[in-house]
Amino acid sequence: MERCHNTASTSPTVKTVCLLTSEYKHATAARMGENKIIVQHTDTVTSAHMGSIFISYSRHDKTAVFNLKKEIEAVVGDGVCWIDLTGIESSKMFIDTIIDAIDRADIFLFMYTHASESSEWTRKEIEYASIKSKKIVFVKLEPIPLSKYYQFQFGGHDIIDMADESQKEKLLQNLKTWLPAPQAVATPDVPTSPTVTNTPDSPPTQPPTTKETSTEEPSKNNQFMFYYIDSTGKQQGPVDADTLRTKGITSNTLVWRSGMDEWTRAKDVPELQHIFMTPPPPPHRPTPPQTPSTPTNQQSTGSYNSPSGTSTATANGGDLPPKPDNYLVWSILCTVCCCIPGGIYAIICSNKVDTLYKSGDYEGAKRSAEEAKKWAIISAIVGGIGSFIYGLIVGLGELS
């Protein structure tokens, strides 16, 4: 797999990793190329130890690989393949996730293409898989000759050429036989989230255990205790509903309490409905968390390179701080009234705020907003006050 190192700043890629563990079956739907990833769980699990397949590929071959994955899953069943959905960043956490995934996998499927041939990461993955003596299957997606490195690695192995339908068919059948037979297991009590790293959009890594919740649940007069995912993606709680509202949660914050099947958006939890009807009590937080036009109030939580919502901050609730005010009105007002092209530059900066925000670059958006503000003020001073003084001089001259 090839990780792209700077996806956060250049494209709206999301850093969500969904680990298809052998215990749980997660349907992961990723809107590829879009900026939101949806991690859904299908029902709690029916079978376990189905084994899994790790697919190693370069993100340049995403389309072809995903098609093949579909075909494989049609034969061996859903939720067997582990695949990096996005191009994982190379932070330690993600490397660990990948190592973990390879560890769990029974079969390591390598997609050989021009792109993966030259990828450093796929090589690392292969080397790790061979150290761990995984069953490595070499799949030629493109009809290109083996490079020296891969001749060295795979000289003795069977090479499956995808151009040949019969070989492909044989691979699919073989995969089925190679995987260990499924065993039934009991349905777990607590929803386990997929192994998720660094994304506020998804449930946390450690679900509350049943033990924990049973002691916590029957608190004062029938109040439920809730766990929630804060804006940095960490699991917090348990707290009661009234405390929860002071924590800056939004309608999209994921919450869980004992008795619920899944982490659920707060707006879908009946016990929390009242939170969104009335504003949170002021002493804890001077401003409501989503105040639109005061971007300066929102800067408290470090860097936000998290995935942005589909179009606006509303789409995504508290996951990303609200879009910084882009000062477009001021920029245009200055441009129109002060006849200074500096205002044009302010408008351009305002536009950049939106573009950057959509790509998930909150810090960049904020910088651009500041730039827009600066230039709006400059053009207001130069244009507005300049023409005012000029008018004053001319006017006074006429009067005298």
């Binding site: 036009s293 901050a313 245009i332 006849c339 000029y390 001319v394």
Partner: protein, 130 residues
């Protein structure tokens, strides 16, 4: 002073300034009184800027003469309703819909349209002497 107070003071300041400006343009005709801001571009080059006529426009608009008002500056036909809509959306109590509306009103497309119209209007008004 924390940022919340600052933001409130800023808003109140802007509101007072806006009321003051509206008051001045309601009370005084920029054409009749000599002491009003004058366009530097027009004075130095003889070419009108895209904003020329805005003061007279505001004066006539405040006196209900919409047609006369917009004849001073056709760019304002687009800009003024847009600014009003945006200001209203900003002042509305915070809701999902207000926020979404505001996002639509101040998005990238609007910015680009504004820039294009600005330059088009600048050229056209100087050719046809509008």
């Amino acid at each position: 002073m924390n940022s919340v107070n600052k933001a409130y003071i800023l808003r109140i300041g802007v509101a007072i300034l806006a009321i003051l400006i509206i008051g001045i343009y309601f009370g005084f005709d920029p054409e009749a009184h000599p002491i009003f801001p004058k366009c530097i571009l027009l004075a130095t080059t003889g070419y009108k800027c895209p904003g020329c006529g805005m003061q007279r426009l505001v004066y006539h608009l405040l006196h209900g003469e919409v047609r006369t008002a917009f004849s001073y500056n056709y760019l304002a036909v687009f800009v003024i309703p847009w600014i009003l809509a945006t200001v209203v959306c900003t002042c509305l109590p915070h809701s999902k819909y207000a926020r979404r509306m505001l996002d639509r009103l101040t998005n990238r497309t609007v910015g680009i349209v504004n820039i294009v119209l600005y330059f088009l209007w600048w050229i056209i008004r100087n050719i046809y002497n509008l």
